[in-house]
Amino acid sequence: MTQSRYRDGAKKIAPIGIAAFAFGVSFGVLAKASGIASAEAIVMSATTFAGSAQFAVASILGAAGGVVSAIVAATLLNARYAPISVSVAPVFVGGPIRRLLESQLIVDESWAMSRREDGRYDRKLLVGAGLVLYPSWVGGTVIGALAGDALGDPAALGLDAAFPALFLAILVTQVHDRQALAAAVLGGLIALVLLPFTPAGVPIVAAAAACLLGWRRP
């Protein structure tokens, strides 16, 4: 059943899709309040499709922080997608155009969801989850940018806590052996230690270095 694994991915990510939609609305609202036009906000959600980087751009431009620092901050925040995309690379299929398009559905949540308990990635779960998250995020942005703050603050609904809960729930299924546990503890510690001292994004990228625990002589 090839269809069913796409659908499994879509189904499993559905509750996070609701949170992504609500944050898409709040991004549209915040972008407008920061002087970003509706079309700019919508194009950003459709091309960047990464919440934290987009919020960073809106808040820096809104505070007249300058376009260069907005770009640097957002790129640092999204730098984690380089190691993330390398980790899922072997499961992508087809020609370069298809791989380019499908890779745009990679976000933290779809990537995390696509990791099976045996440690391999499932492209269909990733694509199915991404196809729920993408319209949720972009559609939410459209509504927020055009209609304004109709839903209220997603934080009041606790939706910001849905994301760490998702990552934690997936993390515990991944820690099968001592080495994975060591990588998780070390990665979490690196992020925690760097959090107060470095710009957003750096703690996550630096934490990726914990994977070097898996180094074996070639």
Binding site: P15, M44, S85, V86, S87, P164, F167, L168, L213
Partner: protein, 102 residues
Amino acid sequence: MSEAWVAVLVVGAATIVLKSVGPVLLGGKPLPGHLTGIVGLLAPALLAALVVTQSVGGDEEIVLDARLVGVGAAVVAILLRAPLLVVVVAAAAATALVRLVA
């Protein structure tokens, strides 16, 4: 062109490249043997970092707020072997409740 358009287009292009670098350059080929151990540990390392930054991350500071209560509720739900939906909803509900009464 407005400052915002410049930011939107540059960040959009950079992100498209970052997300596609693995699948387009390495897609379909298995990783060299000595790298599979390293790449296999990316998930636990990055997931743990995401849990930390999304639970206590602020603007270059550690912020302890209602999100932590939500993550605590998620831990309880995970220990009770609740399905993913329940874990996520428990975290959101606990956080919303704390913010409601606080």
